[in-house]
Each structure stands twice: as structure tokens, then as C-alpha cells.
């Protein structure tokens, strides 16, 4: 069997190739197709059900210019400046979100998913440090399949179950990429005038509450595949030092934070005391990182476990809350029932989630550094959604994904010819990609990945210092020797092998970036015990790029805010 796998090679060309068919990637594809580009979408899973909202989504952040003082573009940007200070570039935020917001909401409705309640009104809730209720609650159960239908209607070509393994440049500019089909074993060489990366953040890098690395808040299929590949060809990354956490139900890492606290849930400690007011003037409506910090401090002080108390909510609000929980995470309501909770309400035990490589706020991203046109520092390479350093969360992925598609199509239209891929490089890549299938002995991907998780969690998940980070880098570097011993028994395990290697590579980048930022910010997302205070001198981006064969170079880019 192994001798046949990889022998079938497909050569494809596209004007715009989108890698990652989640929310951002599909909006990119729609925009590029509307601009007249020949579009190819490549997804490691299947675009009908891939990415963070595979099972559903329940809220969309927006300002609506309703006349309320908090409901304007300026008020919204002031909120971004406050809670994402030092991570969000407001100039880019205006271009990729504010200027695309109205069209993104209209597009969502046009695709057949209403952001409104049955009576035509918006149901909006407030949490996460917002000055007013920015979270539109809606039923996004079918948003992902509907977006996939729209992409098909726009005649985009789609490659499902293809994992991209490497990007290629020609004279320093993007030429295309290689990948393989993890169901058939076919190999792909794809030339594209413009490439947009929309592959989300990096998960499975840290230990989880149950010990199962797939029991995660965010999608476990997001493994930094293209963070690593883009870094390898010289793309700059930013906001990657942050280690994001949230508060999840004990036993199941699931979204629900915004629903619980937006509807008025309160965090309570093991003594039955509400405690968030001691950590932030907004109490249980504080920014996410502050909520996590408060929960961690209560547990550390011996006042755990923590609970969310919803017993004071009205019956109708409780009913809405539990329906929203199921829209965002399909299986969460029945999990809570299986644990013995009911709507009338025992308090629900919560815990701080697994750490993840991701944005420090809902209002920026973590990954490939983009400018106002969603372009990276490499000509022809763009990024969108959580995979970029400036976008994240549904609202920005819908809006900014579309912006990326417009700019990529415009770029591609200016190129007369595709840049060539080198045949010898592709042949070398084909051998590298399938090599784990040919090994009779070796290390299982889960074992290798598990070692990365232990190192990352012990050294920077999330607390860190110069000593912990320096030794983490040494340990992760020493792990390099095992990469060439990974063994796959089939194509599914082959995908897991490449994911494990990518998680390992991104973990190193995270540690280097965290070492460079000599302050603490968005505590505990970047908490340096040797520099525990936030320092205005570090109000900006730590930008990382590859330096030589194994090195990581960092530079600092200041961000400016009016206040």
C-alpha cells in the first residue's frame, strides 16, 4: 500500500489560492471570486464543517450606530484601543473590520443566516469589557454550511482533506505550495498568483483538563500548519507570544463564556463568594484575560473550585442561555445534563481552560503579520482570520476575510504569469511528506506531540520567565532529533505526524517571542514572573521571523493610540 501512496501527482493553477476553509477563508474565497479571480480553496477537513464554527456559532460582535453613545465606530475603536492595547493596530482594524462590517452583516443575512430575532430586532448582550452590548446573539447553527454553499455558487474550486505541507517562493515572491490528500494519498503541486492563509491558531500545544488533547475550547484541527510554513519561507509573525485561556465547564472545554457572562452569570468561589469585583470594576463583565486571572488567583489562594452561578436569572433568560450554549457547542447542554445540572440551577462548576497559542483579545489575531491590505511581508502572501496577527473571532473573520479576498484578487490580476515551482523541490517534498509511512519502526505522533505539550505547559503555559523560556527552547530544540523518526501506519496518522511537527515548530516560535517581550501584558496571557508589570515601552508588537536555519529573530514595532 505504502508504495502506491504519493505516486499520483496533481498540478493545479489558480489566481487566488485560499489555504484554510473556515470562516475567514470562505469569506476570502467569496470576495476573490466576486472580484473575478479564479479561486481554489484548500482545506484539511471539509469546508461544510471545518474550523472553529464547524458545529455552530452564537454571537457576532458589532456596533450598530443605534444612537447610543457606546454604539458608534469611534466608541468601538476606543474599546479596541483599551482592551487590545499593544496588540491591535487600529489603522488595520478600521480597514479590515470597520469598513467591511456593514457588508459582512448583509452578506451573512443574504446567505440565509439571520442575525436578528424572529420579531426583526437584534438581541444584544454585554461582556468582555465592552462599554455596551456589542454581542449580537443569533442562531449560527448553519452558518458554516451556508457559507460553503455560497463558495460553491461562486464557482470556486475546492480541495477538501488536503493538508498543505509547504509554501514556495520564486525570487522572494510567492509561487505556490505543496500538499497531500489525507484520504487518497495523492500529492498536489499548486501554483497561485496570490496565496491567502486562513488556518486559524495553534491548538494541542498545552495539557488539557481531562488529559485528552482533543478536548478543547477551539478546533483541535488547527495545528499551526501554515504558521510554520509561512515562517519557514520568511514571513513575519506577530502577537504569537500570547498564551490564551478562558473559563470552561469542568470536564468539557467548550465555548460558552460569552453566553454565560453576557446573560448575567456570576463567578463564585468555593466559599460561595462572588469575587470578580475584587479584580476589575466591571466584575463579571471584565475582559476575558482578567476573568481568567481572577479565577486563577482564587484557586491559588485555596478558594477553589470556581462555579458560574445563574440561579438568579429569570426563567426566560435561563432558557435563552441554554439554547445559546447548544448553538455554539452542540453537545454542551447534554453534557451539562449528564453532569446533573438543570436549568433551575445548581451552580455549574467551571475551570480555567487549556492554554492555546492565540490572540490575546477578541479584537486582534495572532500569527502572520498583515498590513491594511491583509498582505504579509512576502509579495503575494496574504493572511486572514485567526491565522493573521490582526483578526480573530467571528465578526472579524467575516469582515476581514472578505477584505483579504479583495486584496488578493487585486494583486493576482496584476500578474501576467504564475511564478514557477521547482520540480526538484517538489520531488524532495513528496518524499519528505510520505516518509513517515515508510518507516517500520519509530515514534508515534501522539507521543512526540505529548512531549511538546509537557514542555510548553511546564515552561510557558502560561507563566514564564527568562529561565523557563530559555530552557524550554533548549528542550524543544533537543526534540528536533526525533522529528525524522515519526512513524505513520496510515494516512490519518500521517496527518497527525505533520501536525505534531508543526505544533513543535510553533511552540519554539512562541517561546522566542515570549522571551523577547520583557514585560507582562494581558495577564495571564503574557505573564513574565521576572517582569510582572505592564510597561508602556512595550506597547506594540513583538515581530518574529526566521533567522538562518534554526534561529528566530525578533524586532519590536510600536503601536500608537490616542489615549
Amino acid at each position: 500500500m505504502a508504495a502506491v501512496i504519493g505516486s499520483e501527482v496533481h498540478h493545479l493553477k489558480a489566481d487566488v489560492a485560499v489555504i484554510g476553509g473556515g470562516t475567514a477563508g470562505l469569506n476570502t474565497a467569496i470576495a476573490a471570486a466576486e472580484a473575478g479571480a479564479d479561486v481554489l480553496v484548500v482545506d484539511k477537513a471539509h469546508i461544510v464543517r471545518s474550523g472553529a464554527i464547524a458545529g455552530g456559532i452564537d454571537h457576532f460582535f458589532a456596533y450598530l450606530e443605534s444612537g447610543e453613545p457606546w454604539d458608534t465606530r469611534d466608541a468601538y475603536l476606543a474599546y479596541v484601543a483599551k482592551v487590545a492595547r499593544g496588540a491591535s493596530n487600529l489603522r488595520i482594524h478600521e480597514k479590515v473590520f470597520c469598513e467591511e462590517l456593514t457588508a459582512a452583516m448583509a452578506r451573512t443575512e443574504r446567505m440565509g443566516v439571520s442575525l436578528r430575532q424572529q420579531d426583526g430586532s437584534y438581541l444584544r448582550t454585554q461582556a468582555l469589557g465592552q462599554p455596551g452590548p456589542y454581542a449580537i446573539n443569533f442562531d449560527g447553527k448553519f452558518l458554516k454550511p451556508k457559507m460553503a454553499m455560497e463558495v460553491k455558487r461562486k464557482h470556486c474550486r475546492i480541495l477538501n482533506r488536503v493538508q498543505v505541507s509547504n509554501l514556495y517562493l520564486h525570487q522572494g515572491e510567492i509561487a505556490g505550495f505543496a500538499g497531500y490528500d489525507m484520504r487518497s494519498g495523492d500529492f498536489y503541486a499548486i501554483e497561485a498568483k496570490a496565496v491567502v492563509i486562513a488556518t486559524g491558531n495553534t491548538n494541542r500545544m498545552f495539557k488539557t483538563q481531562t488529559g485528552n488533547p482533543f478536548n478543547l475550547w477551539y478546533c483541535p484541527a488547527n495545528t499551526g500548519d501554515l504558521h510554520r510554513a509561512a515562517f519557514d519561507v520568511g514571513a513575519e509573525l506577530a502577537n504569537v507570544e500570547y498564551v490564551r485561556l478562558t473559563i470552561v465547564p469542568k470536564g468539557m472545554s467548550a465555548p460558552g463564556f460569552n453566553a454565560f457572562f453576557g446573560m448575567g452569570g456570576k463567578l463564585v468561589n468555593g466559599l460561595g463568594q462572588e469575587f470578580m469585583n475584587a479584580y476589575h470594576p466591571m466584575g463579571d463583565k471584565a475582559p476575558r484575560n482578567v476573568m481568567v486571572w481572577g479565577a486563577l488567583q482564587e484557586v491559588r489562594a485555596g478558594r477553589g473550585p470556581i462555579y458560574v452561578d445563574v440561579r438568579h436569572l429569570k426563567a426566560a433568560d435561563l432558557e435563552h442561555l441554554f439554547s445559546m450554549l447548544g448553538i455554539d457547542k452542540d453537545t454542551l447542554p447534554e453534557f451539562l445534563r449528564a453532569k446533573g445540572y438543570n436549568r433551575e440551577g445548581t451552580m455549574i462548576e467551571m475551570t480555567v481552560s487549556e492554554p492555546m497559542q492565540a490572540r490575546p483579545s477578541e479584537l486582534c489575531g495572532s500569527g502572520i503579520k498583515i498590513d491594511e491590505t491583509c498582505a504579509s511581508n512576502i509579495s503575494g502572501l496574504f493572511a486572514a482570520g485567526d491565522a493573521s496577527d490582526q483578526m480573530g473571532c467571528l465578526h472579524m473573520c467575516m469582515a476581514g476575510g472578505f477584505a483579504a479576498g479583495k486584496h488578493a484578487a487585486r494583486y493576482a490580476a496584476k500578474l501576467a504569469h504564475h511564478r514557477p515551482l521547482q520540480a526538484n523541490a517538489l520531488e524532495e517534498e513528496r518524499k519528505r511528506v510520505f516518509a513517515p509511512l515508510l518507516r517500520n519502526t519509530g515514534i508515534a505522533p501522539g507521543e512526540f506531540e505529548g512531549i511538546v505539550r509537557i514542555i510548553a505547559t511546564d515552561h510557558f503555559g502560561p507563566y514564564k520567565s527568562e529561565v523557563s523560556l530559555t530552557s524550554a527552547i533548549a528542550k524543544l530544540d533537543a526534540l528536533d532529533q526525533y522529528r525524522d523518526q515519526l512513524r505513520a501506519g496510515n494516512l490519518h496518522e500521517l496527518m497527525r505526524c505533520h501536525e505534531a511537527v508543526n505544533i513543535h515548530a510553533v511552540a519554539k516560535i512562541v517561546a522566542h517571542a515570549a522571551l523577547a517581550r520583557k514585560e507582562s501584558r494581558f495577564v495571564p496571557y503574557h505573564y513574565r514572573s521576572d517582569y510582572p508589570e505592564t510597561n508602556e515601552d512595550w506597547c506594540g508588537l513583538v515581530v518574529v521571523r526566521r533567522d538562518g536555519e534554526n534561529g528566530v529573530a525578533t524586532r519590536f514595532e510600536r503601536l500608537h493610540y490616542d489615549a
Binding site: R49, M252, T331, F335
Partner: protein, 66 residues
């Protein structure tokens, strides 16, 4: 054990195998099986796309016990 497929109800339409974001499902003898139960994200995509209610969820002991 996360997603569980009732073989008696499954008609082999393959939609769940086609769509599963984590590639944990596969076809065996004309019906869908959960080949990698430990890699399930519990997203429920398979159940939402099943017309015959052949998919249910069972939560592992650790999820319910801790």
C-alpha cells in the same frame, strides 16, 4: 467514548464521514464507524448532518467524573 453510531440505523450515506472536521469517522462494511474516538471534538457536526438520528454522544468517564 464520544460520538457513537447506531449501526442498525445507519444507511451508509457517508455524510458524517465526509464532513467530520477531525477525520475520526470512517466507513466499514457499508456503515459509518468511529475509528478514532479519542480524537473527537464533540462538535456534533456528524449528528447534525445525520438524517436518521443514528448518532448519539456518550461522554467519557473522565469528563463526567472530575
Amino acid at each position: 467514548m464520544p460520538a457513537v453510531i447506531d449501526k442498525a440505523r445507519c444507511n451508509g450515506c457517508e455524510l458524517c464521514v465526509l464532513y467530520c472536521p477531525l477525520d475520526v469517522l470512517a466507513m466499514e462494511d457499508g456503515v459509518a464507524v468511529v475509528r478514532y474516538p479519542d480524537e473527537c471534538w464533540h462538535c456534533g457536526a456528524c449528528r447534525q448532518d445525520c438524517a436518521l438520528d443514528a448518532v448519539t454522544f456518550e461522554f467519557s468517564p473522565v469528563m463526567l467524573a472530575i
